[in-house]
């Protein structure tokens, strides 16, 4: 589904990604861990098409298509979804209005008829249950005045509505208490299907107790320096990142 080859990216002339290689197949969950400043969030944003990052080398193939040349909205319509670490507040635009516009843009891309207001409301009612989101939040402006937990839950709710093929969760666990974490993780697990995949970017192993990854990667200095099964995350939790750094230097 996703094939990243030798990806280099920079922002304002600072190199952040220095040759990432990553392959994600349908049905898989990949966790990306790593210390602060290793490039995890940059990778997530580059995949979503954030233009402030400059891809200087390498390629990203998504279902065989060159992702780098696609504007962010087209990536979204092709099924890529980024759950933001810091969801943006948009005063004056209601959550439902925004989501309906997004869903219908994606449906148009798929040659489906747009949903009218009635269809849309009954559709999102089902999705609301999935992430236990408050009805009240839907009528409020996007993320405005939401608590940290509400914002993260709203990201997963959007994911439930838009049904992406490849979801990228950028530190969705940060700032969540244990109950909120469980609700968010449950939502992600319920949305799991054989034909979709997820990349979970996280600092802590905690989230991976709930969203069990098939592969864990360690990102360091803009490269993937170690990959392994879910036990790798446990080892990192236990021993920190220093041994990975030492291993890498000794190679």
């Amino acid at each position: 589904m996703l094939e990243i080859k030798n990806l280099h990216a920079s922002i304002n002339g600072n190199k952040i990604l220095n040759g990432i290689n990553l392959s994600v197949r349908a049905g898989e969950i990949h966790a990306i861990m790593g210390p602060n400043g290793s490039g995890k969030s940059t990778l997530a944003h580059v995949l979503a098409g954030r233009e402030v990052y400059n891809v200087t080398d390498g390629e990203i193939l998504y279902n065989g298509k060159n992702l780098i040349e696609m504007p962010p909205e087209e990536r979204a319509r092709e099924g890529i979804f980024l759950a933001f670490q810091y969801p943006v507040e948009i005063p004056g635009v209601s959550n439902t209005y925004f989501l309906k516009a997004a869903l219908n843009a994606i449906r148009k891309h798929q040659n489906l008829e747009p949903m009218d207001a009635v269809e849309f409301l009954s559709y999102i009612k089902k999705k609301m249950k999935l992430v236990e989101i408050d009805r009240d939040l839907l009528n409020r402006p996007v993320n405005e005045g939401f608590s940290g937990g509400e914002k993260k839950r709203n990201e997963i709710f959007q994911m439930a509505v838009l049904e992406p093929k490849l979801a990228i969760l950028d530190e969705t666990d940060s700032g969540l208490d244990i109950d909120a974490l469980r609700i968010v993780a449950d939502g992600v697990n319920k949305l799991r299907k054989p034909d979709n995949a997820a990349i979970v970017v996280t600092h802590y192993q905690r989230l991976l107790n709930y969203i069990v990854p098939d592969v864990v990667h360690v990102l360091w200095d803009g490269r993937i320096v170690k990959s392994g099964g879910k036990e790798l995350a446990l080892k990192l939790e236990d021993q920190g990142y220093d041994w990975v750094k030492d291993d890498t230097k000794n190679k």
């Binding site: 233009e51 504007p71 948009i90 004056g92 997004a102």
Partner: protein, 439 residues
Amino acid sequence: MPQASDPIANYLEHFSKFEKEISGESEIRKFRQDAVEEFKSFGFPTNKNEEWRFTNPSQISKIHFNHQLQKQISGEVKKQIDELAIKKFAQNRLVFVNGIFSNESSNTQFSPAIKISPVSETLHQSPESVIEIVKRPMIEGRNFFTSLNTAFMRNGAFISIPDNTTITDPIYLIFIASDDTTPFVMHPRNIISLGRNSEASIVEHYIGVSKNVYFTNVVSNIILNQGAKLEHTKIQTESVNAIHIGSTYFHQFESSKLHQNTIMIGGAIGRNNLISTLNSKNIECTFNGLSLSEGEQLLDNHTTIDHVMPNCESHELYKAILNGKSRGVFNGKIFVRKDAQKTDAKQTNRTLLLSDEATMDTKPQLEIFADDVKCTHGATIGYLDADAIFYLRSRGISENAARDMLTHAFANDIIGRISAEPVREYLNKIVHDKLNQRR
């Protein structure tokens, strides 16, 4: 022909003709002559005058405007009114075509409790009721154009709402300019008084269809007596070559509540002066404004809230959206006089620039002479939030749609505060059309 270098001569010449036409109105003759002396002493303003620093009126002084108003209400104009006005208010409207009251387009099924008539009629029948309101002393906002209007005042709406009367349907005043023959000027004057504990909603709508240059020089005097509540909305959608200069003077008395909305969209030059004097205690005054400009338009809002007495609140939020090479001005004065203790005044001005070539001048001006008051002000000028655009795009929404959504949301912050739903609907459509026609 008057020389271009003496712009006042033109108006004086028209005044002497005008005076002959209105020979019957002796009681206000003196009043008009005083106004002539006043505008002569002010002189035609230039941008050396602090009040006109950003909007140079000297280009207006160069145009020789015809004062002979063209009374024309053709089928064409009727169609244009139906098309461009707020349809839901069709039952309660006074229409002025090229400055002249049009009986056939107006629909005055107003509550019999209210006195409502064209000012021309009131001047004829009871000139004292006009003078009583117009002569009210103005500490702030006296200017050349208001005096000019006073000298020539004849057209406009006279509305008097008695005590303890609630008017549920908004009163809709339409001023449509359709004459294309020659540059012309009109001086509409609206004189409105709300009795004690009365309640009303009034919409003034300035519409232009003429392609030629014309000049609307409007003044409204509005009194809110004790306990009166008014939502007053001014919508300016003049045509592209129009010049619109307007001054609205409110006098508020004890426990009255004013909710004023000013929407400026049309005209080559639009200047709006809005002044409310809070003459007694426990008054609430809310000013909301939205300007939408493009091309080489210049839209200028000068507001004054004058806190004279204690325990009054004022809230002011003005927003501007500028595109193209357009220019915007916001000058917001708040006076807190020495007796106006416990004043709570808040002023905010926000500008959204959609183009690198648009410019905005904003100037908050607070003058506080009382010591126990709460006064805040803030101004921001910026572009659309890049993070928000990316967020929307990352959900599949196109870049253009994302920009429109954010721009509309910015405007809707003002539109959403208007109580009259048909006005909100109308403005949402106008904003939507404006955003779409850019492409």
